[in-house]
């Protein structure tokens, strides 16, 4: 039973990690129907920014909570700026182009950003400082569930709820939904579509940055390539849950996390990815729009 619980918690952490990245993917897709392949790179840039800021602040001798808050804030601001810029440069000019063009542009942006960080920083793995302190109340269970893991799981849940509320009830949230439904119509009733899309990218990138800081803290090392692998898994999770759906992204990510964790625990880690993707195929056969996705009815 203990073993099951440990695997369950491990899967929960892993799923929450995927979810933090998947939320940004799914949100951007929901609004502009674009798979933002550069999302993983925004996540990686967030982690790098936090590392640089945290290193500087450590030299200045700030306490650990201040470092965590400032580094996370810096990562969010910086990544948002990247997300905003990437949209303006690579996606906006292609908004009315065939769907394949922005997709290729997104892949290009992903490769560009990877190589940019590779050249500007280093190809080596860099140690990422442990920014999240060990909470005293977690001490008795820390060998099965650490403080950092608790923070990741809690953040994912909070972000999911806030995001859902934001899209349901705020004005900009309503404008987002309107834009998602019909861009031209939204424009006609006076919604600034450009602004809505920019805000979407900024929010998506902020989430990626937040994920970058928490995940890098958990793993303890970063390099220019981390965004790619994490991005692929998060994308899978978003598709599994129904791309465009926010609770769906979290659900898909958790299912993916648990599948991998239990497959490793009870079968063999050799087949971890095999199980994960076999599950994806199975779910897509029976629910082509994903678990919580709405099947689109084609307007004829």
């Amino acid at each position: 039973m203990d073993y099951f619980l440990e695997l369950f918690l491990g899967g929960l952490t892993r799923g929450s990690i995927y979810a933090l990245i998947a939320l940004g993917y799914t949100m951007v897709y929901g609004i502009v129907q674009l798979i933002n392949f550069a999302h993983g790179e925004i996540y990686m840039i967030g982690a790098f920014t936090a590392l640089i800021v945290a290193s500087v602040l450590t030299i200045l001798g700030l306490n650990s909570v201040a470092i965590l808050v400032i580094a996370t804030a810096a990562a969010i601001v910086y990544s948002s700026a990247y997300g905003y810029t990437v949209e303006k440069i690579a996606y906006k000019p292609l908004r009315n182009a065939p769907r394949l063009s922005p997709l290729i542009s997104a892949i290009g942006m992903s490769i560009f950003l990877q190589n940019y960080v590779l050249l500007a920083q280093t190809s080596d793995f860099l140690p990422f400082p442990r920014l999240i302190p060990e909470f005293a109340f977690m001490e008795p269970v820390s060998h099965i569930f650490s403080s950092a893991e608790l923070v990741i799981v809690a953040t994912t849940m909070i972000v999911m709820v806030l995001l859902t509320l934001f899209i349901k009830f705020t004005n900009i949230g309503k404008a987002m939904r309107a834009t998602a439904q019909d861009k031209t119509m939204a424009l006609l009733i006076g919604i600034d579509v450009d602004r809505v899309i920019s805000v979407t990218f900024i929010i998506g990138s902020s989430l990626a940055a937040l994920g970058g800081v928490l995940i890098a803290n958990h793993i303890g090392q970063i390099n220019f390539y981390i965004g790619f692998i994490a991005g692929i898994k998060a994308f899978t999770a978003a598709v599994l849950g129904g791309i465009g759906s926010i609770p769906g992204a979290v659900l898909g990510a958790l299912i993916l996390g648990w599948t991998e964790s239990f497959a490793t625990g009870y079968v063999s880690s050799d087949y971890e990815d095999v199980f994960a993707f076999a599950l994806l195929v199975l779910i897509l056969i029976f629910r082509p729009a994903g678990l919580l996705g709405k099947a689109e009815t084609k307007k004829v």
């Binding site: 073993y3 440990e6 695997l7 918690l9 491990g10 899967g11 952490t13 892993r14 990690i17 995927y18 640089i52 910086y78 700026a81 990247y82 905003y84 810029t85 303006k88 940019y116 050249l119 500007a120 920083q121 280093t122 080596d124 793995f125 860099l126 140690p127 820390s142 060998h143 099965i144 650490s146 995940i215 958990h218 793993i219 303890g220 090392q221 390099n223 390539y225 981390i226 692998i229 994490a230 898994k233 991998e260 964790s261 239990f262 490793t264 625990g265 063999s268 880690s269 050799d270 971890e272 990815d273």
Partner: protein, 391 residues
């Protein structure tokens, strides 16, 4: 206004890039003092030694250092009057590390009547060329071909090497766990890659043959994954006392950290891919006590220092891969010719097997199979943030 903002953001991006730009390592183009060392003696008898390996193509960086090493050794010998009263001449051929090219390279060397060959560089190319050399009775010494088959199969009595074979790390790790750490339950984990999995398979084979260790877990992990807690829990569940990991340092660092965080009291033994300072940097305090095997430390060997200095003086940079192994091989070949007093195949191979020679990697000679005795791996342990040789 918007354009201005966009511009500001773009500018910020490049400032970031500018600030963090690391000073690039000086990569001077090597102004090679050409192969003058290999210049043929105008007339009379010369002793020809072949140098084969990848000198162009994407693996050239593995092969070119051995040419330079051979040139330095030959230049020294010729400056002192040559070998057996004759000048030594190098015949350099490029096999691009491709087995099919290696065979024609070998044929070329045979037709040039070389007495011995330094090379080839890649195991596959070496294997392909060996038949040709064996038929022509030419001893071959590789500085870098690590495939165990080359020596262990006994098919190539004319093959020698100055690098330890792939399985010797696994052998050393298993012996260390059995005899020094005196542990019994072992979990063997690998990263599914050629290197890591190959090593893990050798280790598994040795452990099974010895019957002293109990393999409680044998599994591959996915490199680059965000979380390894499931495999760590599985290690815990298996009751392993020691983890043997075949792979590279990024995953090793993640696993070692998790083992410590999950409060598992197991020893961690790994390979050359983990014996890297980045591992200590990344795993930090969790790296303490980790064992890793790696080539014996030669940084204090006077011959190694001298050989490296020669390269630095001539090319202005540190030598590349397998340079010292090639330097060693060239010394071993020329020494054997001198000791044998002849270039006859039987006398030469006998001298290689019986005569000790001082080289940059220590005092070596060769065993019956052709592996260098003395070119072994050592066990290192992380102590106070640095790898220390423990055996």
């Amino acid at each position: 206004m918007k354009k201005l903002l966009l511009f500001a953001v773009l500018a910020a991006m490049f400032v970031f890039a500018g600030c963090s730009q690391k000073p690039k390592e000086e990569a001077k183009p090597a102004e090679a003092p050409a192969a003058e060392a290999a210049a043929p003696a105008a007339t009379g008898d010369v002793i020809k030694i072949g140098v084969a390996g990848a000198h162009s193509g994407d693996l050239a960086s593995y092969g070119l250092p051995s040419v330079k090493a051979a040139e330095f050794v030959v230049k020294d010998i010729n400056d002192k009057g040559g070998l057996l009263g004759k000048k030594v001449e190098l015949v350099v051929v490029d096999d691009v590390c491709k087995p099919e090219v290696a065979v024609s390279s070998a044929n070329k060397l045979v037709s040039e009547h070389v007495v011995a060959v330094l090379g080839h560089i890649c195991s596959g190319a070496t294997k392909a060329a060996m038949g040709t050399y064996l038929a022509a009775k030419i001893p071959v010494m590789s500085p870098s071909a690590t495939s165990p088959e080359l020596t262990k199969s006994g098919e190539y009595p004319n093959f020698f090497r100055t690098i330890a074979p792939d399985d010797s790390q696994a052998r050393l790790e298993i012996d260390y766990i059995t005899n020094v750490l005196k542990l019994k339950k072992i979990a063997i984990i690998h990263d599914k890659g050629d290197y890591g999995k190959g090593l893990a398979e050798f280790a598994k084979g040795f452990a099974e043959a010895d019957k002293k260790l109990d393999i409680v877990l044998y599994e591959g992990i996915t490199p680059g994954a965000v979380d390894y807690s499931a495999i760590v829990q599985k290690i815990k569940q298996s009751g392993a006392e020691v983890v043997l990991y075949g792979g590279y340092h990024p995953e090793a660092a993640k696993i070692v950290s998790l083992l410590a965080k999950k409060k598992l009291n197991v020893k961690f033994v790994s390979d050359d891919g983990v014996k890297d300072d980045t591992f200590i940097k990344v795993a930090g305090q969790y790296a303490e006590g980790v064992y890793a095997t790696g080539p014996k430390d030669v940084s204090k060997n006077p011959l190694a220092i001298e050989a490296t200095k020669k390269h630095k003086d001539a090319y202005g940079e540190d030598p590349g891969a397998f340079y010292l192994n090639a330097y060693t091989a060239m010394l071993a070949i020329t020494n054997a010719i001198e000791k044998a007093g002849s270039t006859d195949y039987d006398k030469l191979t006998n001298a290689l097997r019986t005569e000790d020679v001082e080289t940059p990697i220590g005092k070596i000679k060769f065993d019956d199979k052709g592996d260098a005795i003395g070119a072994e791996f050592s066990v290192y342990q992380v102590q106070n943030g640095a790898y220390v040789e423990v055996q």
